[in-house]
Symmetry: C2
Subunit: 609 residues, 2 copies
């Protein structure tokens, strides 16, 4: 590399450090030292290797850059400024109310794919983007992920390493800023980049160890990474946290705070400069590959037959896949249980087996939707808890995801509590902008699966292991936010609100009560979030007695959704839910033991009246 | 090994297979094929290497055996039968209602340390038990963990591998049953035990590859594992799923179901035998090491001063550590933020730095409490979502854990949504047998931290980043399930129910309303689960108007706890909570923008009246 280039890159890196110090100083908080260690790495990437059209962030040929170490946001914003994407003035709004330059990057910025800030997530999501490039878009964009060394302790990093290594994803490069210091003190491996190289190497990655402050070494490594075939590359860059300012350089206790004397630090860094960086746009641009679709022919189930909603999900997803070329599916090595296997067999190009790595499955799905694909990701409802932080961050990203949790509730039977999804509705409802759907029959399931394709944000479908009777005609519509009144009479003395498997228990209970001369209404609340306030309000003001019944913990599920909806009207509400710790037993025994079967409903109505 | 021994071990293994087939057949469900692959491994372990006193499962010198592949429960129960711990009759109650032989093992059995069945958790917990043996108990027991090959895809396995490798835990051995087939089909690496050996080797483990059906090789490997110094050992055993029965041997599609023709299979396996195994008890037994305690001198904060509840947690935990030698602490490399650092500095022997690996942190804590230690594990409330599945399984285990989530809510300010714990109460409340505490001042925090030491099950303390005024006297008691009525008058027209940071907003709102001549009550609901029904019932029946306000999502938190408590009384309830997606802003701005500050409370009261 000519000396002039080296000098320019050093100047650019110094400016990135200065701007990281300035923005954090203006904000009164932030992570300048974690930005300073990675400044040379990103300077060389932007000047020589990134292919990105900042004027057209939606150019499908653009490379992708993900800051997995999201706290280095001052560096990212300094880069945007140097590239001319934002002004110096906007850069100094960092972390201020209303600014899109948040403490950790979010897709409020058009150049940011996903929100980061929970460590160990950027690389997994990057693998999803790289898979989209390779298998779906079929475009040569490259995915660059800046990682911290501390976050390599997260298991999700190794799920991603396994996934990318096994798929041979040469279109992703992890750049690890090995600055030796975490938030709290030294990392396990300090500057031993060899320790990380051995690990990544074992997972099938091409590894390069460099001095992260040497532009020539960095340049060579980035070029090597882009040119490497058949394997992902990790660049392990030995750096110094706070590089360039003696007061914080490689010092403990300097994490996550502005520099004490920013003015002096800026002088020490050589002062403000007017260096800009011209990021090259992609050389070729062509539209992404698409898969053909056709008319939608959802499966249909005759009234009165029995079918498992999980099976209806599988059949409906296959039908949807035939209708829409943008629909893709993921599974966590349980596709024969969730029934995603039907899609997998029909559309292997659009199916992603994520093995037993639920975090990586969600991250991959997030990465696929970054590129506009419409992912459905399924595992047991219980095991979605494994990926809660990833779902949480996906909500912050505003990602459009469709999640399916099978084997919900105690009704799975003999497998016992470890396999029972009993907290899934609570977990999903508590996230911003989510939709929670819980069908009770196969036709309803098919309709909802199709509807989910067009729902923004995270939508969740809860399915049941066992067969349930078909109670709706094929082709009926079940809009999000709606419900179905299944029993209603003017002399109703109470209303039972159920969803999924308990709908059938509620209907049976209503029949039993009828025999005693007690008339009760039954509502199928298939849309748990948003919930049908109108129907609930009417029940609250007419019968005034509501019984909710759900195969879920009492906290955060259907009952709470109902309580929330009617809280200002003040009806009496009895919530039936799974309050004990189940063991193994047959499905019917489980429902009875948990107090959510027909007899328990009858008893609750009697008690309430 | 003498031929006679080999023959005995083969006979024992065959009986384990027969019994796995029999119990699954009797149950009509279960995982016989996953049991059959590991039968030789476990036969040799029980006959020659395990040191365990089945008559005294509480013998502190006992080895620990964890079935990380919990679905191989038929094998485990067959082993218990062969060892004389259970009868054949009980074995055949497998998966039946009321039986303690559940589909996946739980500590309802005295020889089971933790519930398994969510894959990738047994090894991480085993690392916790091994750490207890090494650093706390200081006893030479060995921890044996039977893993499946499929579950090696879970990142948590690699968090555990890193933790054990870095600590040089030679007292743990992972025995991986590499049977090539997952639930859904072949694993990524099939029978390539070298692929796994490279990975474990890179993480610092001693690796041994064996034929998992050769008793001599297994015996040598187990002996080698026990004798290895300074490193954990993994035995990668090539096996055949369903070994011994041609119909299922190494066949896809035979996972998780009883054999079609059990009778024929039993004949093929050589029929039922009366083989028993004598498991040797530990050679030496001495009591575990203990750390001395002393009187409890909790920190105290003068009324009216300001202090962060997270700081009070740190100071109180240190005081508790001085008082009780059984208290230990863990942190996810954020001890300077959570304030666990105070304990870490005072009692380094009892502090466990788990780095940024929240799943491993929870698993380690679970392992430590298996051995009777009293763990407090802390990270940001937001990042506890990373370990939700581990917390869920800990609840099924009936583990006694104390979790601390700092930086709760939007009030953290500028860092933005990725760092805000906004779903933590929903997540923790939805688990069985949990306690959720959310203090509003430093003295209350100190009292609750001390109280948590004696709470059974999982207790959770939610702490706040910023300083809040001290409103309680030092030494006041705050029992679990209680609350504090801070404002109350006979002419109250509404009651504000708050917890944590919103208590101070509620008090300010009450003062503002007072100036308008509107008297409202204020309750500090520091115990969110269980919640103080008596106080809420009184408020519901006197003022009839409740306003809940919380720095948390509207689903599953304080508001829902209140609604649940008063649901059958039917007061009007207005729930104030964080409904939008926050960005970066100052703490006061965040509270106002989220609609949970004093002005929003005042407005809500006005609207309600």
């Amino acid at each position: 590399m000519p000396e002039r280039d080296v000098q320019y890159l050093c100047e650019l890196a110094m400016q990135l450090r200065v701007d990281s110090v300035r923005s954090s100083d203006a904000a009164g908080s932030g992570h300048p030292t974690s930005s300073m260690s990675a400044a040379d790495l990103m300077a060389v990437l932007f000047a020589h290797h990134l292919r990105y059209d900042f004027d057209h962030p939606d150019n499908p040929a653009n490379d992708h850059l993900i800051f997995s170490k999201g706290h280095a946001s001052p560096l990212l914003y300094a880069l945007y400024k140097a590239a001319g994407a934002i002004t110096d003035e906007e850069m100094l709004t960092f972390r201020k109310r209303g600014s899109r330059l948040e403490g950790h990057p979010t897709p409020r910025l058009p150049w940011v794919d996903v929100a980061t800030g929970s460590l160990g997530q950027g690389l997994p999501v990057g693998v999803g983007v790289a898979l989209a490039g390779r298998r779906l878009d079929r475009l040569p964009y490259h995915v660059w992920v800046l990682c911290g060394d501390s976050e390599l302790a997260e298991g999700s990093i190794w799920e991603a390493a396994e996934h990318a290594g096994h798929e041979g994803l040469s279109n992703i490069t992890a750049i690890v800023d090995v600055n030796r210091l975490g938030q709290q003190g030294p990392t396990r491996h300090g500057w031993d980049t060899g320790a990380y190289a051995r690990r990544f190497g074992a997972f099938g990655w091409h590894t390069i160890e460099v001095d992260g402050h040497d532009p020539g070494q960095i340049d060579f490594a980035l070029g090597d990474a882009r040119n490497t075939r058949r394997r992902p590359t990790v660049i392990l860059a030995r750096t110094r946290k706070g590089e360039g300012v003696n007061d914080v350089d490689n010092r403990e206790g300097a994490h996550g705070k502005p520099l004490k004397d920013a003015e002096h630090a800026i002088v020490e860094l050589g002062g403000e400069r007017g260096v800009t960086v011209k990021v090259s746009p992609p050389e070729v641009s062509r539209p992404p590959h698409t898969f053909t679709g056709g008319p939608l022919a959802l499966p249909s189930y005759p009234l009165g037959e029995k079918a498992a909603t999980r099976s209806a999900y599988g059949a409906a997803l296959k039908a949807l896949g035939a209708a829409r070329g943008d629909v893709v599916a993921l599974d966590g090595e349980v596709a024969d249980s969730t029934k995603t296997e039907e899609f997998a067999h029909a559309f292997p190009e659009r199916f992603f087996e994520c093995y037993i790595a639920e975090q990586e499955m969600i991250a991959t799905a997030v990465g696929l939707q970054v590129r506009g694909w419409v992912p459905y990701a399924a595992t047991f409802a219980a095991f979605l808890t494994r990926a809660y932080d990833f779902i949480r961050m996906a909500a912050i990203s505003g990602a459009d995801l469709r999640l399916i949790g099978s084997h919900a509730g105690v009704s799975i039977g003999e497998d016992g509590p470890s396999q029972m999804g009993l907290e899934d509705m609570a977990m999903l409802r508590a996230l911003h902008g989510t939709t929670v759907l819980y069908p009770c029959d196969a036709n309803q399931t098919a309709a909802l699966v199709a509807e989910m394709a067009d729902i923004s944000g995270i939508s969740y479908l809860r399915t049941t292991r066992g067969e349930t009777p078909v109670i709706y005609e094929p082709g009926e519509r079940f809009p999000v936010g709606g419900s179905r009144v299944l029993r209603h009479a003017s002399d109703d003395r109470a209303t039972i609100v159920a969803a999924g498997i308990t709908v059938h228990e509620a209907l049976a209970a209503a029949d039993l009560l009828k025999q005693e001369g007690i008339s009760v209404g039954v509502v199928d609340m298939y849309s748990v979030k948003p919930v049908d306030r109108a129907v609930l309000n009417e029940a609250a003001t007419t019968t005034g007695n509501l019984i909710t019944v759900e195969d879920h913990r009492p906290e955060g599920g259907l009952g709470d959704a109902v309580l929330e909806a009617v809280s200002e009207l003040g009806p009496r509400v009895v919530k039936l839910a799974v309050r004990g710790m189940p063991g193994s037993a047959a499905p019917g025994e489980q429902l009875a033991d948990a107090g959510i079967g027909r007899d328990a409903i009858v008893a609750a109505v009697r008690r309430l009246l």
